[in-house]
Amino acid sequence: MKIRLFRPWSVEHFLAALPVSVKQIVVLDRTKEPGAAGEPLYADVLTALTEGYLAGKSPLPALPMVTGGRYGLSSKEFTPAMVKAVFDELAKPNAKNSFTVGIQDDVTFTSLDYDPKFSTEDDHTHRALFFGLGADGTVGANKNSIKIIGEDTDFYAQGYFVYDSKKSGAMTTSHLRFGPKPIRSSYLISDAHFVACHQFPFVEKIDMISSLRQGGTFLLNAPMPKEQVWDNLPIEVQRQLIEKQAKVYVIDAYGVAREAGMGVRINTIMQTCFFAISGVLPKDEAIAAIKKAIEKTYGKRGRIVVEKNFEAVDTALAHLNLLELPAEATSTFSMRRSVPLAAPDFVQDVTARMIEGKGDLLPVSAFPDDGSYPTGTAQWEKRNISLEIPVWDESICIQCGKCVLVCPHAVIRGKLIHPSLLENAPPAFKTADAKWKDYKDLKYSLQVAPEDCTGCTLCVEVCPVKSKTEVKHKALNMAPQPPIREQENRNWDYFLSLPEFDRNKLNPKLVKDIQILQPLFEFSGACTGCGETPYVKLLTQLFGDRALIANATGCSSIYGGNLPTTPYTTNAAGRGPTWSNSLFEDNAEFGLGMRLAIDKQHQYAKELLERLKDLIGEELVADTLAAPQSTEAEIQAQRVRVEQIRERLTGANSPLARDLKAVIEHLVKKSVWILGGDGWAYDIGYGGLDHVIASGRNVNILVMDTEVYSNTGGQCSKATPRGAVAKFAAGGKPTGKKDLGLMAMDYGTVYVAQIAMGANDSQTVKAFLEAEAYDGPSVIIAYSHCIAHGYDMSHGLDQQKLAVETGYWPMYRYNPMLAEDGKNPLQLDSRDPKTPLRQFTQNETRFTMLMRSNPEAAEAFLKGAQKDIEDRWKLYKHLASMEYGVPAEEPPPEPTPSNPAEVAARKNEVQ
């Protein structure tokens, strides 16, 4: 029975709708209410039945047996096989109640077993599965195909598309059904007539063939001559193909695309192959329909693009080959392990399964009970998503560290190495004499993690060194990855095995030195070239070993905490950022809560120290309590003291001593960071952010301002500037950007900085250091280029520069400490804007879109925005030039005496 009307719940109609023959009822709820007697629908059904029965109004002769279960939480598949399991359970003498279906619960044994092979699908319905990359157009082409089948044939058609939640290199799976009968199967395809693999590297990573039915068709895009394809398939794939007697078609779609002048666009080529093989439409009709779709999709981009696509369609079929399968599997290699054997158990047992796309098979016991996951697991997932990686020319590199700073994925790193450690270096391991005044005897290495690089090229773009002899040659140059992958892997492993250089010997104010600091945020799934992640990485290099991070929901919570892997990691001592995401709207408060907890436990630890003075020793206690902790060295010294106290406490068994042991680590300074995007900081979380900065507490807030809600696809926020087109502001945003920094400065007690790494990296670094050092609330507003801005991200840093030069993004630092010294707290770090705004906006689709669709409005906006810039700059200049004097020493005002009678009266007040 399907419920249509849930509320108001009509007992009478519900009972009337049941056949009187019913003896057993099972109610499936798609929600979970831990601790409830049953889920809501189950409870309502039970109420209706009992009520009807007791009142004698039930049409059923007796009270049926009723059970309830949960299914489909978080889009877990629900299939006819599971429905069968539910009914089969009813037939048992002690049918489970409060069960689950669709999972394996080996902890509380709620789950029902089901046969995943059981199928009720109509054989006349053709089922097709396509594996592609988010970026290769597979999904778009399949949406097209479904439209063509739906509109150009009498068939019924269905399409469903599954994305993984990585923002770069994400895999997509398209599930297509079509056939003469209406399609009711709203679940994923497991027994496909047709499986297409649009990306050759998938064959050794993902088990696709197990979804292919006996005698089904497998279409493979293989970038090689057809004779070589078979030998390049792993043994497992060969075996399954032979066993299933599959028809295997291969095409070098990238080759065809190249010849047709379409670069890497393979989608129409693969689509053409699909139509040709599946025979859903007569060939000519199919090709005509595809061409019609191409006209529709690419017409806007001009005739040439359309013609190229036409050519690709026409030539595709000539390159499509049926592969003759040998009788036996002969491959000499197996599918790749998704993680290396060296990975920790949890990664082997749980993370790896998720990476392989087999997370559904993990039982309940595999998971932590409270949602706590180990950090440092992203390093094990070698994604190999870039065909090109940077290669270092050590002979001309000036070792500035800029490439390391801007890498959004912490893939390129610098290290200072004692020459004696280089004896066992792999032959291809490169070093140069260190260009550090104090460390001339050391060697310097700049190393890339070849399988983690996303190929964003930001490192190459930022590199300031051009060869004097070779045109276009820099100290970093992109080169094809496959030929050097293994060699660079060995180099990378070796690089990692070398000890980290002593942090205390480095100057954290210098970009050059920062490259030597280990990043504790690496290989995240952020978009290739993301403008947010370099800031996060920098923060972990500077403060990661003592950072607690509260992260607002948004891109940063997804690339920061989206399973399977976790990019935050630890240093050799096992320290690193601890991270949590609460909600989108409460992040400042969430971080403040962390601060309160730390301060409270710090306070308690200090109190206990005082009380245990005799046991621990007066001097050590006094030193610990008075210890300054503003530099790395001072923090290190405090850690040593804490260890000493710990030692002196061994054996001590008083309650106070035991309590101190439980909170002792809080004697070492912790750094609380509150991270999020502009949607959080300017909009939904602003009330909280405002409250938190007003609280005076020592928290550091990093707003990564992409000027839109990036994670949800680029909707307008109050950070969106005038005239920019965003979702929900399709005609251009009519109002100017909110000045969050100015609002924060208004308190006078908040450290505020507005930064843009691409424009001035040392200002960025200064801002982070000052914000952290300030014993109060700090806000850093960081300009973050983003794919939502609509241009090639490799120019992200240039655009940042232009943003600053045009005055679109003024840089400044407002440090309340300066006011205490009688100085103006506001320092402008960018120059008077001289470049017209147009030079910045003309490079980004978010502005140019309007230029094309509504040039008049765009011009008006541009004028308005230019004026915004001028007005704001004038105001800043004025604020920055104000005279500040040293405030006269004044006694603090008397607190108003609290009148006990008044307090008591208030208690009974009612508001």
Binding site: K32, K76, S582, D586, L592, G687
Partner: protein, 297 residues
């Protein structure tokens, strides 16, 4: 052991235990719960410490949403934390309540139950606010007299630390929160006895710290969310027994025995009334039982 007798209202009874057994208290005013926050603030301002000798940090937030967020953060970082609210305020806490429970976090929130505004606002009492939280995964404990508020506040605190399920401790707005009654005051020793240090140290060990970092609040996909969600089941099935054990322990200490369900009336009753609170109903039942006996004899 003799305990002081004090004449206080329900809010003060709850606040008393909450303040003595917590470290971070995030507050926001809303009738009829405001007084709990006011008491806590006042006591901390006067330097009154909790049972471990440290003065709790009381902070007013910008909304109950913010109070819940701050509470969530404080709990994650290993503090004992609490908050007080009612009605619309409680509704604003719901998003965080799901997370706090999902992460098996020990905490008690004290709610003087109040009507949720519908066609009109009403500051007065019913359970519409508490009932709106049924799906959050919080345990819910109801007390119905000023003494009960104080007692169950402590029993809740002890239970949540052992059971790891957060507890919403509620009592009727105004009728209980503002009723003044003479009660026996729990002592520091009572509270210490109910909150053994080892369980608190365990809670600290689960805290987020960069010294032994973990990651919480991940985003999960269809492949694993459902299984992970069912992982909490044992904590809920163990909860009633843990609570009863704490109630028994409390009874041994104070002589006041509570049960998960307290039946009151004739053992051979044929008609029963079930409800959350039972003060006047009990009065009636006693009256009716006595009358029935009289008639029978």
């Amino acid at each position: 052991m003799t305990r002081p007798k004090v004449t206080i209202d329900g809010n003060e009874a709850a606040a008393y235990v909450a303040h003595r057994t917590n470290e971070v208290i995030a507050i926001y005013p809303i009738t009829p719960s405001s007084n709990m926050g006011e008491w806590a603030d006042e006591w901390s301002a006067k330097g009154i410490p909790n049972i471990w000798g440290s003065v709790p940090d009381v902070i007013e937030m910008q909304s109950e949403g913010g109070a819940a967020g701050a509470l969530h953060g404080a709990l994650q970082a290993g503090a004992l934390g609490t908050t007080f609210t009612a009605s619309q305020g409680l509704l604003l806490m719901i998003p965080n309540m799901f997370k706090i429970a999902g992460e098996l976090t020990s905490t008690v929130m004290h709610v003087s139950a109040r009507t949720v505004a519908a066609h009109a606002l009403s500051i007065f009492g019913d359970h519409s606010d508490v009932m709106a939280c049924r799906s959050t995964g919080w345990a819910m404990l109801c007390s119905s007299s000023v003494q009960g508020v104080m007692d169950l506040a402590l029993i809740s605190q002890a239970t949540t630390i052992e059971a790891r399920v957060p507890i919403l401790h509620f009592f009727d707005g105004f009728r209980t929160s503002h009723e003044v009654a003479k009660v026996e005051q729990l002592t520091v020793d009572d509270m210490r006895a109910m909150l053994p240090e080892e369980s608190i140290h365990q809670l600290r060990r689960r805290a987020m710290t960069p010294d032994k970092p973990i990651l919480r609040g991940t985003a999960q996909n269809p492949d694993v969310f459902f299984q992970s969600r069912e992982r909490v089941n044992p904590f809920y099935s163990n909860f009633p027994a843990i609570l009863q054990a704490q109630m028994d322990k409390f009874a041994a200490l104070t002589g006041r025995q509570y049960h998960l369900f307290d039946y009151h009336g004739a053992p051979d009753a044929e008609r029963a009334l079930v409800m959350m609170n039972r003060y006047f109903a009990e009065e009636y039942v006693d009256y009716a039982t006595a009358r029935a006996r009289k008639l029978a004899s």
